[in-house]
């Protein structure tokens, strides 16, 4: 295997056994970033090469002295809405084109404390608004498996960077599907942890009640290991959970049969070829001894409408802070997508409309949560597709905002209910990747990882690499 293709688990093994050094690793990736990023647009900012090599040298020295922090010397990248002290953070918007954060997000400090080396900041749909990677002001990210198509979003650059082997792993935020979607379209594992599992402190807020801080990785073990580092209570985020954190990556061996609920509503109006792929993946789980049970979640049909009102309302409030006075540039620099969402939210909250929209949506959210809680009385996991269709072409859905928004119908329910969810690669439709979505009860990430690992071991989709262009 080539060095750049290693998973996190393999990289750790190589470093521990001294078969590779951190300096070798970062050099391989820096070389590839130079070669492939100009076309892919995965990065907004790549850090200074000398600084990165100096950090890798230090990591190698530290390891020689016996240190074995989990991510020591591992090159990773961060979505550009994670604040990084001294390193430009733009949220892919020209409003923050020159913003240099004064502090690190908690997730970033935790990754640094575990020894990770940050190569750069990745592209996204500006402010996290989008599911295609097209709403950026720093070059539309291309899907490594087909440059004419979208990566999925909003963690578009993170998806492209990991899938193209420009790094070992990438962070992402998931407010309505932003980690699961690019994972599905880029043949990766994408995690949306339970709401509050990972601190939101220092993440540029999109919607405060649904923002979930996760990551995109090549393999399931990698996803579990990174969560073991980033998860945990943070006094700086009062909504972060005090539930004990597990060493998720050490608990993957536990076998056990689970009951998997298949909501019929998740399959309505989907492309046939995609449904076939998902059903094949579910058959794999059935053959492994898990039970598949058809369930019904009737309120799911309202999920996108509830999400649209709730999240846009929170967006309008969170983006109100960008006044061009304390940091960044004036509000004139907001592009159409942000303006649209701010206005949807402002209208939903405005006098005369708040009862009809905002209040009704947050009450409707309660009904959706109850429905999921009831389902989890009967089943251990809920499974379905991630996107209603395979990766689409650039510009194909952009012109009609509603059509674009509705690509999120299958991912937003878990954000509204706060449940952890994952996308795991299951197969290619017309040479384009797709994922299976699994949703678990609150704080049951271990179960998500265990069952995803079985899908991964059986289908081995990670072996299928993209052919990159220069």
């Amino acid at each position: 295997m080539k060095l750049h293709e290693v998973s996190l688990q393999e990289a750790i093994t190589l470093l521990r056994s001294k078969r590779a050094s951190s300096v070798e690793l970062v050099n391989v990736f820096l070389e590839r970033i130079k070669k492939y990023n100009p076309k892919l647009h995965a990065f907004i900012t790549v850090r200074d090469e000398q600084e990165i090599i100096a950090e890798a040298t230090k990591a190698d020295q530290e390891r020689a002295k016996g240190s074995d922090r989990l991510l020591l010397g591992i090159p990773i990248v961060l979505k550009d809405n994670f604040l990084t002290q001294g390193l430009r953070t733009t949220a892919a918007s020209k409003v923050l084109d020159d913003y240099i954060p004064q502090y690190d997000a908690t997730a970033v400090s935790r990754l640094k404390n575990a020894g990770a080396i940050i190569l750069g900041k990745t592209n996204l749909d500006a402010w996290g608004h989008g599911s295609s990677g097209e709403h950026t002001e720093y070059g539309i990210t291309r899907n490594p498996y087909d440059y004419e198509r979208v990566t999925g979003g909003s963690s578009s650059g993170s998806g492209a960077a990991v899938a193209s082997d420009l790094c070992i792993a990438a962070t992402g935020t998931d407010t309505g599907g932003s980690n699961r979607q690019p994972a599905s379209y880029c043949n990766l594992v994408g995690l949306k942890p339970t709401y509050g599992r990972v601190s939101r402190y220092g993440i540029i807020a999109m919607a405060s009640t649904t923002d979930s801080i996760g990551h995109l990785t090549k393999r399931v073990w990698d996803s579990a290991a990174i969560l073991s580092v980033t998860a945990g209570n943070d006094p700086l985020d009062a909504t972060s959970s005090t539930e004990p954190v597990q060493q998720y990556h050490e608990r993957l061996a536990d076998k056990g049969r689970v009951k998997i609920g298949i909501p019929k509503e998740f399959f309505e109006g989907l492309e046939t070829k995609l449904v076939t792929k998902v059903l094949q993946a579910l058959d794999v789980l059935k053959a492994r001894g898990h039970r598949l049970i058809e369930i019904s979640l009737p309120n799911v049909k309202y999920a996108y409408a509830i999400y649209c009102v709730t999240v846009s309302s929170e967006v309008s409030s969170n983006l109100a802070r960008f006044d061009g006075i304390r940091y960044g540039f004036p509000r004139q620099r907001f592009q159409d997508e942000a303006k649209r969402r701010i206005m949807i939210g402002t209208h939903s909250l405005s006098a005369g409309y708040a009862d009809q929209y905002y209040k009704r949506a947050i009450a409707g959210r309660t009904l959706l949560i109850r429905e999921f809680e009831e389902a989890f009385q009967k089943v251990d996991l809920i499974a379905g597709p991630v996107f209603p269709f395979p990766p689409f072409k650039h510009g194909e859905r952009e012109k009609d905002p509603l059509k674009m928004y509705l690509s999120d119908v299958l991912t937003v329910p878990a954000n509204l209910t706060g449940h952890p969810a994952i996308s795991v690669p299951i197969g290619f439709v017309d040479n384009l990747p797709n994922g299976l979505q699994l949703i678990a009860p609150h704080f049951s990430e271990t179960r998500l990882f265990r069952v995803s690992l079985e899908v991964e071991q059986e289908l081995r989709m990670y072996e299928r690499k993209p052919r990159l262009k220069q």
Binding site: L236, I325, R340, I342, M343, T346, H347, I369, G418
Partner: protein, 107 residues
């Protein structure tokens, strides 16, 4: 169930003012059409039986969190760092836009 909800051009201009977004006429017209179709879709939430249903404010059972009212030096920014990203500062302070017009404010 309500079927008519399309947002008017007047309302679009009103919310853009509330949100401090300046739109020209062409933008207002374009956003009006887009927002109208989005709200038409959103209107289906009227079909949910939400009367007397508790509104969701949090999802994982979190209750109030308190901490001691003590300054943590590790989590505060110095004055210099705080204003370091501002386009305009004056003696370590942010310079804001004036709100009152026609008054002879000292500057």
């Amino acid at each position: 169930m309500r079927t008519k909800s399309s947002i008017t051009i007047k309302e679009v201009k009103h919310v853009s003012r509330l949100a401090k977004l300046s739109l020209n006429e062409a933008e207002a017209a374009r956003f009006k059409a887009q927002l109208a179709s989005i709200f038409e879709y959103v209107n289906q939430i009227a079909g949910m039986r939400t009367q007397d249903v508790t509104e969701t404010s949090q999802v994982t059972g979190t209750t109030n969190r308190f901490r001691e009212d003590r300054v943590n030096r590790n989590t505060i920014l110095s004055q210099t760092a705080s204003v370091s990203q501002a386009k305009r500062t004056h003696r370590g302070y942010f310079v804001t836009k004036s709100i009152f017009k026609g008054r002879n404010e000292t500057s």
